[in-house]
């Protein structure tokens, strides 16, 4: 009996070692597939899977197939840290990818850094994520860049003088608004109204009434797409005609579907240019629509790019963590990404043009691009 068990154990062990030596390259992913963030998690998963399938269809990484190992973190920090351990110890992934929000990503980043395994955050933008350590990277656009670009856009391109600021009260919303506010004040505009609202809010009529009373010519409102749809449609319902300026949180076809007519003319600062003629963009947009059944969003695109960056580094230098980090830091002019091109990685963050899109005829379209280094490079670098 014991002999048989021992034998079985030996076989399992042998198979395990065999698997590690000759098998696929494992990339780990944690995404919220249940709970309040399930929609974003689903988009991120689809985006990452498209990237993996494209890489494998093209022959894998130096002949080895890529395997995406993913778990549901429900956008919770405790689950994300448990998953990070599982990915590292049990699945032995060579690199981790966050397709989740800032809080779980911060928790997981600490574990990846500690274990000496590199990690790339797709769209979680809290500054402390990449401050965790030298193995933690981000492909999404940081809040400072987005806020500063928004400020220049509002004052210089849209000619706003009287600005109202409505901020979502979390890391994402507040840091965006901080940099936006500094920029517009520096450019001579006036803030006529400023308020935070809590995440998950869906009733904005009373605060929008107050904003109407302040008579702004532009409203900067930070939000995720569902909240954005509420803000925009309720503002138009109240007869507010001021330009509404949003950010990447609006960047989902669901925003346009939910806001309907009211979405027309809304301008957003983002990193995805759907009118781009780069083939990788058009291929991704078509593939995402086919798989997810809805048009692509920024979250899916960012997860796609995170996998692309990981695969690029793995193809260059193999699976050594320090080499991977060096390879990502050494990226220059990477064109094969959807939210790019990435000019470089500075301070472990992707540097790329800032896209400005406008909703016209029920779809996002090109409005403007910022490539000026003083705007697209995060302050302090």
């Amino acid at each position: 009996m014991w002999c048989k068990l021992g034998l079985a154990l030996l076989v399992i062990l042998a198979l395990g070692t065999f698997g590690i030596a000759e098998g696929n390259i494992k990339i780990g992913l944690f995404v919220p597939l249940t709970g309040f963030a399930a929609a974003d998690g689903h988009s991120a998963l689809v985006g990452a899977q498209i990237a993996v399938d494209l890489i494998n269809a093209a022959g894998g990484i130096n002949g080895r197939m890529v395997e995406l190992v993913y778990y549901d973190d429900a956008a919770r920090a405790d689950q994300a840290s448990a998953i990070a351990r599982k990915l590292i110890e049990q699945d032995q992934v060579v690199i981790g990818i966050s397709g989740s929000y800032s809080t779980p990503t911060r928790a997981a980043a600490a574990i990846f850094q500690q274990a000496g395994v590199p990690m790339i955050s797709a769209y979680a933008i809290h500054p402390s994520i990449i401050e965790t350590g030298h193995l933690i990277f981000r492909v999404g656009m940081g809040a400072p860049v987005e806020g500063i670009a928004g400020g220049h856009l509002a004052v210089e391109k849209l000619g706003a003088h009287r600005i109202a600021i409505l901020s979502m009260d979390n890391d994402f919303g507040v840091s965006l608004s901080e940099y936006f506010k500094q920029t517009v004040l520096g450019l001579g505009a006036e803030i006529v109204f400023e308020k935070r609202y809590s995440l998950g809010e869906s009733e904005f009529r009373e605060v929008l009434s107050s904003i109407r009373g302040a008579n702004p010519d532009l409203i900067w409102a930070t939000a995720y797409y569902a909240g954005a749809a509420n803000i925009v449609s309720q503002a138009r319902e109240l007869g507010i005609t001021a330009t509404i300026l949003g950010q990447e949180g609006y960047d989902s076809p669901k925003f346009i579907e939910l806001a309907g007519e009211a979405a027309e003319g809304v301008i957003i600062v983002t990193d995805l240019n759907r009118d781009s003629e780069r083939p990788v963009v058009q291929q991704f947009l078509a593939e995402f629509q086919a798989r997810a059944g809805i048009p692509a969003d920024m979250v899916g695109a960012s997860a796609f790019d995170a996998v692309k960056v990981a695969a690029y580094a793995l193809a260059q230098v193999g699976t050594d963590p320090e080499d991977i980090a060096a390879a990502i830091n050494g990226i220059r002019h990477m064109d094969d990404v959807v939210t790019g091109p990435f000019y470089a990685f500075l301070g472990r963050e992707a540097i790329r043009p800032v896209e400005v899109q406008i909703v016209q005829g029920g779809a996002f379209h090109f409005f403007h691009t910022y490539t000026d280094p003083t705007i697209i490079i995060p302050p302090g670098l």
């Binding site: 009260d169 935070r196 009434s209 509420n230 939910l258 806001a259």
Partner: protein, 287 residues
């Protein structure tokens, strides 16, 4: 002008709070259980109406009627299929069961209809009222009229019918009511049917108002409705409606202030704590 307009917003918000909470308070009044899955019924109403609009008929009223019927039956099913077997146990048992049902419903919505928000493609067909002092959009008008109609009907059922009398008897003493010839099983089932149908209607109205249906739409409702029930004085239908309106007014007024950055959903709990400290039977409770 601004004040009147804000009052309209407050009324609409408060009306929906009242409509959701009234079913909960009816259940509590009779069975003394906290029916958390009620918020799942609310979301179910929105999903049923959405699928009727998408697949059966673009008619809003048809969708509302089918949603109310289905959610009413779902409420009865939850009572007869689950709560019925837990009533003789400690009150914590139905509570935990209820939370389980609610969570399962949320995940079921996600699995069946996907995690994304759906828009709600219905036009109520009412005019938008524009006066010099305030504007009432057609959706707001619909919510106000329908809520008023439902509540008047409920009032009549409670006070003018045998079923209403049976409920009042049951809420005073379930066993005694049974001993006196009230068919308790039927009375409770009807109670669940009506309360759930109202929650379903609230779900449809909110889906229309916000143009959004999504799996976790019941989350905030789940706990806010309890606050309304407690404020209204456990089991009092009239108190519950007044508490809903009051909450709507307080939230809207505070929300319109530029300096007030406290989360809206926390206001209800702040009020709850104050009330429980100084008036534990609720604002309008008789106890």
């Amino acid at each position: 002008m601004a004040v009147l307009q804000q009052l309209i917003f407050a009324l609409v918000l408060g009306a929906t709070y009242g409509l959701i909470a009234v079913g909960l308070t009816m259940v509590y009044g009779i069975l003394k259980i906290l029916h958390v899955a009620h918020a799942g019924i609310y979301a179910l109403g929105a999903y049923i109406a959405l699928s009727v609009l998408q697949h059966l008929t673009p008619n809003f009223w048809g969708a509302l009627a089918i949603a109310m019927l289905t959610t009413g039956l779902a409420g009865v099913l939850i009572y007869r299929g689950v709560y019925y077997y837990t009533l003789r146990r400690s009150r914590i048992v139905p509570l935990i069961v209820s939370i389980g049902i609610f969570t399962a419903m949320n995940e079921l919505f996600r699995l069946v209809a996907g995690p994304y928000q759906h828009s709600f493609p219905a036009k109520p067909g009412l005019p938008t009222l524009i006066t010099p002092y305030f504007v009432i959009t057609s959706k707001q008008l619909l919510i106000l009229i329908l809520t008023a109609a439902f509540l008047i009907a409920l009032y009549l059922i409670l006070n003018r019918t045998k079923v209403g009398l049976a409920w009042q008897a049951c809420s005073q003493d379930l066993e005694m009511a049974g001993a006196m010839g009230v068919n308790v099983d039927w009375a409770v089932a009807l109670n669940f049917f009506l309360g759930s149908a109202l929650a379903g209607a609230a779900g449809v109205l909110m889906a229309l108002y916000r143009n959004m249906v999504y799996p976790t739409m019941g989350h905030v409702v789940a706990y806010k409705a309890f606050v309304v029930v407690v404020l209204g004085g456990f089991g009092s239908v009239r108190g519950c409606i007044l508490a809903g309106l009051l909450l709507g007014v307080v939230e809207t007024f505070l929300g319109s202030l530029e300096w007030f950055e406290f989360p809206r959903d926390a206001i209800a709990f702040l009020v709850l704590i104050l009330v429980l400290m100084f008036r534990p039977k609720g604002l309008f409770g008789r106890l």
